[in-house]
Structures are given as structure tokens and as C-alpha cells.
């Protein structure tokens, strides 16, 4: 792939989400990409930690993902959910103990042989700019081994990006903003 072309304009700087987004950004069923009773509904959950291993009670997370067949959907209705349309987008504020839950679908591979992942964006008081990462599904080990991003990371970093499948089918993915288990966060071209 050729290197990404230079951007013409300088991006506006980010700033922290601050402490007071709680009455503004969350909305009804923001974390329910699908109805929990739907066949194939999966719980994606975890906890957000700081560099001391203390839970962060004021983070906001967003996910963006393909559907079960690996298709990127372009459906409106993320903010006003009808309970049936899968839009691929979800948002949730963590609780007082730093925990979050999304109800979603296992994303399919967007191309044959690709490791399926969910895009995650992290905002928090104290975090001066948003962070991006990927939540990989743990099952397709051959695809994970062939994934270019994962291959570029050392074993410890790689491990932070692969979710754990729990006995009841839920996906567990913790986020460590700092510390020994610090999550691998991503940058993209043209930023």
C-alpha cells in the first residue's frame, strides 16, 4: 500500500470529555445494539482501570462494528432505537465501579480470513484526547495469527486486544488506560 497522502488542513485539537457529560451523551438503550432477547445477542462487558489499577467511574465508551455477516451497515436509528434495526453503533457510560455492558452481536469477518473485531473508543475525565482500540473475537486463531496489527505487537500488547469468551457466551474486555496491563491503543494514518 502506498503511504497515505498528506492532509491539507490541521485537525482541530481534542479535549477531555470532562466530568459532566452524563446528562448529555447517554441516551435510552444506548448500549443495546440489539434487544437482549434476540437470538445471537451477546453481552460485551468489562471494567475500565487507571494506572493504579483503580476503577474509573467516569469513562464513556463507544463501539462500532459490522453485523454477524461481516457487513458494515449504514442504518440510521442509533439514537432512537426501534429494537430491531442493527446500526452497529453503541455508547455507554461506565457505572460507579467502572463496569460497562453492551448487548450486541458477534461481528463477522469483513473479508474472508480476516479476524473479526469491534472498534472501541474511550473517553474519560482526565483523558485529554480520545483513545481508539480494537476488541478482537478470540475464536478464529488462524485469522488472529495472520492479522497485521496483532502481528506487529509484542505478546503482552497483543493479549490486551483479544476478548475472553465466557462460559455463557459473553465477551469480556477490560480497558487499562495505564499500568502493567496497559491496553494497546491505536493511531491511524492521516491524523
Amino acid at each position: 500500500m502506498a503511504p497515505a497522502p498528506q492532509v491539507k488542513l490541521t485537525a482541530t485539537p481534542g479535549q477531555t470529555i470532562g466530568p459532566f457529560y452524563g446528562y448529555a451523551l447517554p441516551y435510552e438503550r444506548d448500549n443495546e445494539l440489539v434487544n437482549p432477547s434476540r437470538t445471537g445477542a451477546v453481552r460485551l462487558h468489562g471494567t475500565v482501570y487507571d494506572g493504579d489499577g483503580t476503577v474509573i467511574p467516569d469513562a464513556l465508551l463507544e463501539i462500532w462494528q459490522a453485523d454477524e455477516d461481516g457487513n458494515v451497515v449504514a442504518q440510521a436509528g442509533s439514537l432512537v432505537r426501534d429494537g430491531y434495526t442493527f446500526t452497529g453503533f453503541g455508547r455507554t457510560a461506565v457505572d460507579n465501579e467502572g463496569n460497562y455492558t453492551f448487548t450486541t452481536l458477534n461481528p463477522g469477518a469483513t473479508d474472508a480470513g480476516k479476524a473479526p473485531f469491534i472498534m472501541l473508543t474511550v473517553f474519560a475525565r482526565g483523558l485529554l484526547n480520545r483513545l481508539f482500540t480494537r476488541i478482537y473475537l478470540p475464536e478464529d486463531t488462524a485469522a488472529l495469527a495472520a492479522d497485521p496489527l496483532l502481528a506487529s505487537l509484542d505478546a503482552a500488547d497483543r493479549g490486551t486486544l483479544i476478548a475472553t469468551r465466557e462460559a455463557d457466551g459473553a465477551l469480556r474486555f477490560d480497558v487499562h488506560l495505564q499500568g502493567e496491563s496497559e491496553t494497546a491503543f491505536l493511531s491511524y494514518p492521516r491524523s
Binding site: 492532509v7 462500532w64 475525565r125 495505564q178
Partner: protein
């Protein structure tokens, strides 16, 4: 929590304190900010890169100490899902949500303003039909948030939350009340410059960002570690709206203009490249 914060002690060790308990003086925090900025200027003078985003490791903002990754970000070539963004439509956002002054039965107190501008990507292309969300304090510097303990009045006619979809040219417009500065607990006598929080989406989810818009000439700019976490003065200025008398309307509202630039879309050039083969 130990209270060791009297007299003229040096607070160079204040990193160890609970951020919320910091009683460092403004002078201490300002000196720390100046230290980081001086080092940045020196680095640029000797050929270092210009920084256009905030430092995420910025000690004068105490809450950042334990909440910034210490490893550098890992480069990722965006894949399918990362080249697209969620779609939002009229179903998601009602046209009236962009007027924060009509959400209650009465008129909110304060200076009525219009904030308008365009959302562009890094190539200068308008970002169309995308979601813009804002939230802010009221004219007394108080948020409708249960944890905001600032003893300033709540305005029963002002919530301070707005949404809009950008138009064909990437344009957005909000009608609102000018927010006031408010105190916070970063250090003793810490005050945030007046600001409106903005949340933005692009055509690619990798362009997702949240920021704050400020008002021209705010005397608190130099004192604020969140604003000053952007070490480059030109980059900082990009967060300050411009007073625009053409936006001001006769006997109704004063007007501000603020354009937002997201990072570059990767979809456009990657698709074009595929087409070239």
C-alpha cells in the same frame, strides 16, 4: 487522604496526591505549564515536530496522571469497519434539538448566542449529515449534572444539551446561552474558561473526536491546564470561536463562528488506490 497542603510548601511532589485533593496554588500549576511549554518551544526551535493535539500526559492537569497510556500509540492500517461511520438521520435528531433556548416553558437567563460553523475533514471536504452533540454550563457556570456541586443557580429553563445533523456543506448551527466560567478541583482557585463541549463524527470512525469550544479573549486561558495541554499556541487558537457580526441578528442574539477540522478520511484514498490497480 493526607492534608499536607499549607503555607508555602513546594508541590513538586503533588503527583502523589489524590488529584481531587490537590491544593497546589495557581502559581505552581502555571509554573508547571510554563515549564512544559518552554521545553516544547525549545524542541521546535531545534527542529522538533509541531504538536497539534493535546498532550495526554500533562501533569498540570492532575487527573491525567493515572489516566494516560505511557506507551506510544500503535500504528494500525484502517480496515473495513474503521473506514466507515455510523449513519445518523432525522429519526435520530429532531430539528428543534439545535435550539437550547426553547427546551422548557420559559426563556433561559443569560446572553443568547448563535454558534455556527462547518465540520470539514482533513482534505477540506465537508462532513455531511453527521451528528454534532454539544453540552455546556448555564449562564451562571452550573451544569445540570448531579455531581456538579458549584453553588451557582440552576436555571429551570436551561438544560444545556443540543444535537444537530450537519448540512450539505458540513454546516451546523446552535442557538444557546453563553456559558460562564466555573470552578473545579484541579488546584486551589482553579477556574475553567467558558466553553461548550462538542462531540463530532466524521465519515470514518477513526475521525471520532470530542473537544471544547472557547470564547475569544477569555482571561482564564493562560491559567487553564486543560486548554494549555495543547502546547502549540496556533493549535490552541483553533479551539477559540470568532465573534462574527454577520451571524449576530438584530435585537436577538450575538453570533460566533467556529469551524472544526477532523483528521483525514482514509476511505477516499484507499478506495481510489484500489481503483487504480
Amino acid at each position: 487522604m493526607t492534608n499536607t497542603t499549607t503555607g508555602n510548601e513546594s508541590f513538586n511532589d503533588s503527583h502523589a496526591l489524590d488529584p481531587a485533593a490537590s491544593t497546589a496554588t495557581q502559581e505552581t500549576v502555571s509554573a508547571e505549564i510554563a515549564g512544559v511549554h518552554d521545553a516544547y518551544r525549545a524542541a521546535v526551535a531545534s527542529g522538533g515536530a509541531v504538536e497539534t493535539q493535546p498532550r495526554i500526559d500533562f501533569a498540570p492537569y492532575r487527573s491525567s496522571l493515572l489516566r494516560h497510556p505511557t506507551k506510544s500509540l500503535h500504528h494500525a492500517d484502517p480496515e473495513t469497519i474503521e473506514l466507515f461511520s455510523p449513519a445518523f438521520g432525522q429519526r435520530d435528531v429532531h430539528a428543534l434539538e439545535s435550539d437550547l433556548t426553547i427546551q422548557h416553558n420559559g426563556e433561559p437567563v443569560g446572553e443568547r448566542i448563535v454558534v455556527t460553523g462547518r465540520v470539514l475533514d482533513g482534505d477540506g471536504h465537508p462532513v455531511r449529515n453527521q451528528l454534532v452533540e454539544i453540552w455546556q454550563a448555564n449562564a451562571a457556570g452550573r451544569y445540570i449534572h448531579k455531581r456538579d456541586q458549584h453553588p451557582a443557580p440552576i436555571d429551570p429553563n436551561f438544560t444545556g444539551v443540543g444535537r444537530a445533523l450537519t448540512g450539505e456543506n458540513g454546516e451546523y448551527t446552535f442557538t444557546t446561552i453563553k456559558p460562564a466560567p466555573y470552578p473545579w478541583k484541579n488546584h486551589h482557585n482553579a477556574w475553567r474558561p467558558a466553553h461548550i463541549h462538542f462531540s463530532l463524527f466524521g465519515t470514518d470512525f477513526t475521525q471520532r473526536m470530542i473537544t471544547q469550544m472557547y470564547f475569544p479573549g477569555d482571561p482564564l486561558f493562560g491559567l487553564d491546564p486543560i486548554y494549555q495541554s495543547i502546547t502549540d499556541p496556533k493549535a490552541r487558537e483553533a479551539l477559540v470561536a470568532t465573534y462574527d457580526h454577520a451571524v449576530t441578528s438584530h435585537e436577538w442574539a450575538t453570533g460566533y463562528r467556529w469551524d472544526i477540522v477532523l483528521t483525514g478520511s482514509n476511505r477516499t484514498w484507499m478506495e481510489n488506490e484500489e481503483g487504480d490497480h
